[in-house]
């Protein structure tokens, strides 16, 4: 074709190259943020870089990590799941009750996973097949799960779990020593588990056809549908994944606390889950985000809270910083898509 029409294509390609490169890699922000934070804290906060504390942070990733992974799946597909944190309690109390009654581990664990998936499936059916608004649906499920847990237990914590269960999930393995640390420190199983699940589900999301369908559905549901992607199945599946993650969280937390309660994770933590996911590059409009980014987003938040606890600085300042970073990240996302 003519030279005339060739010249009219990229009239606004004047963005600096570095910015362009950075924009194309949204997972980089939380990675950089985490690394910078880690270095600053290691230099300024006593005991922060101590192996015991590093393992402590690693283990803490297992508390919210699964829920963040689930949230990433749902948000990439363009949805949101507000219910996962109460589903944790619902799954935990039932599974724990069975464990206490049978003095076995496996059926209870299976039940926790199952209940998580059932709640996820309920969300999925309502959002994907009945076309209800995710925010409202999962808000309702959140209340249902919480009510169910309280009703089921009469608000009493479930106690007396089999040692095998507690020892398995809250165990510390592969003792290590670092530098001058006197005693070897074990690696928390919760951290190892979340790392493995993050690697597996991160792989599925970023490399496989299933993951691509999730991204495309979130990027533009209508286009995805016309392109032959079964968007309802895709959306349904993401909610089930989120539910399964709540089930795994139930196992980890129940073992760690030695009890299942009706309010293991509170609503304030929901903010952390969404914050980690958004800092990790996900967008509430869907189509964006990655497990890698989310995990570093969570690492950032965990380190922040840990460092403040070590310093004995008011935890409420940490809240201010978290909120500020979140707004800044969302602002950056807006700039990036402009």
């Amino acid at each position: 074709m003519s030279d005339a029409s060739r010249s009219l294509v990229t009239r606004d390609s004047s963005v600096p190259r570095l910015w362009h490169w950075f924009s194309a890699r949204p997972a980089l922000l939380p990675v950089v943020l985490s690394v910078v934070m880690a270095v600053i804290f290691a230099l300024t906060v006593p005991n922060f870089a101590d192996l015991r504390n590093i393992m402590n942070i690693f283990g803490q990733l297992g508390f919210l990590g699964f829920l963040c992974i689930g949230m990433t799946y749902v948000m990439v597909a363009g949805g949101i799941d507000l219910s996962s944190y109460t589903v944790v309690s619902a799954a935990a109390v039932v599974g724990a009750t069975v464990m206490v009654a049978t003095e076995t581990t496996l059926p209870g664990c299976f039940l926790m996973l199952l209940i998580g998936c059932v709640f996820g499936a309920i969300n999925g059916v309502a959002v994907a097949y009945l076309r209800m608004i995710p925010f409202i649906v999962t808000l309702s499920t959140m209340v249902v799960a919480e009510g169910f847990a309280i009703w089921f237990t009469q608000a009493q914590s479930v106690y007396g779990l089999p040692d095998a269960f507690i020892d398995t999930f809250s165990a510390r393995v592969f003792p290590m020593t670092l530098g001058i640390t006197a005693r070897p420190v074990g690696t928390p199983v919760a951290g190892i588990m979340v790392l493995m699940v993050a690697l597996a589900l991160g792989f599925v999301l970023s490399r496989t056809i299933y993951g691509r369908r999730i991204y495309l559905t979130g990027a533009n549901e209508e286009t995805a549908r016309v392109s032959g992607i079964k968007v309802r199945q895709v959306k349904f599946a993401t909610y089930v994944v989120a539910g399964a993650m709540a089930g795994i969280t139930a196992m980890i937390l129940t073992a760690d606390l030695g009890t299942a309660t009706t309010a293991m994770v509170r609503d304030v933590r929901l903010m952390d889950i969404i914050a980690a996911t958004v800092i990790g590059g996900a967008s509430l409009r869907g189509g964006k985000g990655s497990i890698l980014g989310t995990m570093f987003g969570l690492l950032f938040l965990t380190m922040l809270s840990n460092a403040f606890n070590l310093l004995g600085v008011s935890p409420f300042i940490a809240m201010v910083i978290k909120g500020t970073v979140l707004v800044a990240v969302i602002g950056l996302d807006v700039l990036r898509t402009k």
Binding site: N53, N56, G59, L257, G258, T261, V265
Partner: protein, 331 residues
């Protein structure tokens, strides 16, 4: 009137524990670093105790550094906070448990790291495997017992008939509420009274009112109502006004009221002589005691019994005494 002297009791309780304790290693440094795993700051008890602990710590002979964490009522977050404090290497873990069972695992972790634990206000659940090294709390049973007993004695002095009592409890799932009920039962036993009906107020004035209204109709002659906390008194007042039974002491329509906590509304009603006895929720005493015990616990001393604080009973007669006024914290 047998108002127990709070100080005497406290000292004796602590002494009892100390007598049984093994002699500890004296702490190398003078300074004691205490990690506080707190539920949050939003509740008056949480924030007041945080403030008072800092004040008493500052005034203490031993240098005490308090490292504060807040879990926003999140059980899992409290476990993380405790882990952080253990990582930091505090000398003592002071926990205000959000969940009395879940906290047990934090106690265990602290113990594994060689750090003693003090539970504050809420005891680690009795069935839990790992108990805190010492518990500093309020004697909830004594609160209701002392307040109801004071009223019964007053009734006796007034020549009023002692018979049935209406019990407006807190949250049935709450250990404090249960213990206060036990205290009321003991006071009733002492004076040959009985609890006519157990009404669940859930620490909420509206719910207390909703539960009390039909009971007042069912027991028109009731002359003693015992309320688990005076935070519910506004609801109780509403219902009694509607029933024409709201009258100060001295009025023939007066219904004797005993309660617990001494929140501002309790003070107001004591002064207007509607409320006859109110046992304070003694946060001040609890904080003072906790700080006193910190260096000893950090030094390795062990305690075999709980340290339960018994606050004084406020009555219309003593409410404005300067000594009583100095105990107030929730105003």
């Amino acid at each position: 009137m047998t108002t127990l002297n709070r100080r005497d009791f406290m000292t004796s309780a602590v002494a009892a524990g100390a007598a049984l304790g093994a002699p500890g290693i004296v702490h190398a440094q003078g300074k004691v670093t205490v990690g506080m795993a707190w539920p949050g700051m939003q509740d008056a008890v949480w924030s007041t105790s945080h403030k008072l602990l800092n004040e008493f710590a500052a005034a203490s002979d031993t240098e005490i550094e308090l490292v504060f964490t807040a879990a926003d009522m999140d059980v899992a977050k409290q476990a993380s906070d405790a882990n952080d404090l253990i990582s930091r290497g505090v000398d003592l873990l002071l926990v205000f448990p959000i969940d009395s069972k879940a906290i047990s695992s934090s106690v265990k972790r602290a113990r594994d790291a060689g750090i003693p634990t003090m539970a504050f206000l809420r005891q680690v659940h009795a069935e839990a495997k790992h108990q805190a090294d010492v518990f500093v709390g309020i004697d909830a049973k004594y609160q209701q017992l002392s307040s109801a007993r004071t009223v019964f004695e007053k009734m006796k002095a007034d020549g009023a008939a002692i018979g049935e009592v209406l019990w407006v409890s807190g949250d049935i799932r709450d250990e404090n509420s249960r213990l206060r009920g036990v205290g009321l039962q003991e006071a009733c036993d002492e004076h040959g009274a009985s609890i006519a009906q157990d009404l669940v107020g859930n620490w909420d004035p509206q719910q207390a009112a909703a539960a009390l209204a039909p009971a007042l109709k069912a027991y028109p002659d009731i002359n003693h109502i015992s309320v688990a906390s005076d935070v519910m008194m506004s609801g109780v007042r509403q219902v009694m006004q509607d029933a024409g039974k709201w009258a100060p002491h001295g009025d023939p329509n007066h219904v004797y009221l005993s309660s617990v906590d001494v929140f501002p509304i309790g003070l107001e009603l004591l002064r207007s002589k509607h409320l006859d006895a109110d046992t304070i929720f003694d946060v001040t005493g609890m904080c003072r005691t906790a700080v006193e015990l910190m260096p000893r616990l950090a030094a390795g001393e062990t305690f075999d019994s709980d340290v339960l604080i018994q606050g004084p009973v406020f009555t219309p007669d003593n409410v404005d005494d300067p000594e009583m006024q100095s105990q107030l914290w929730a105003t």
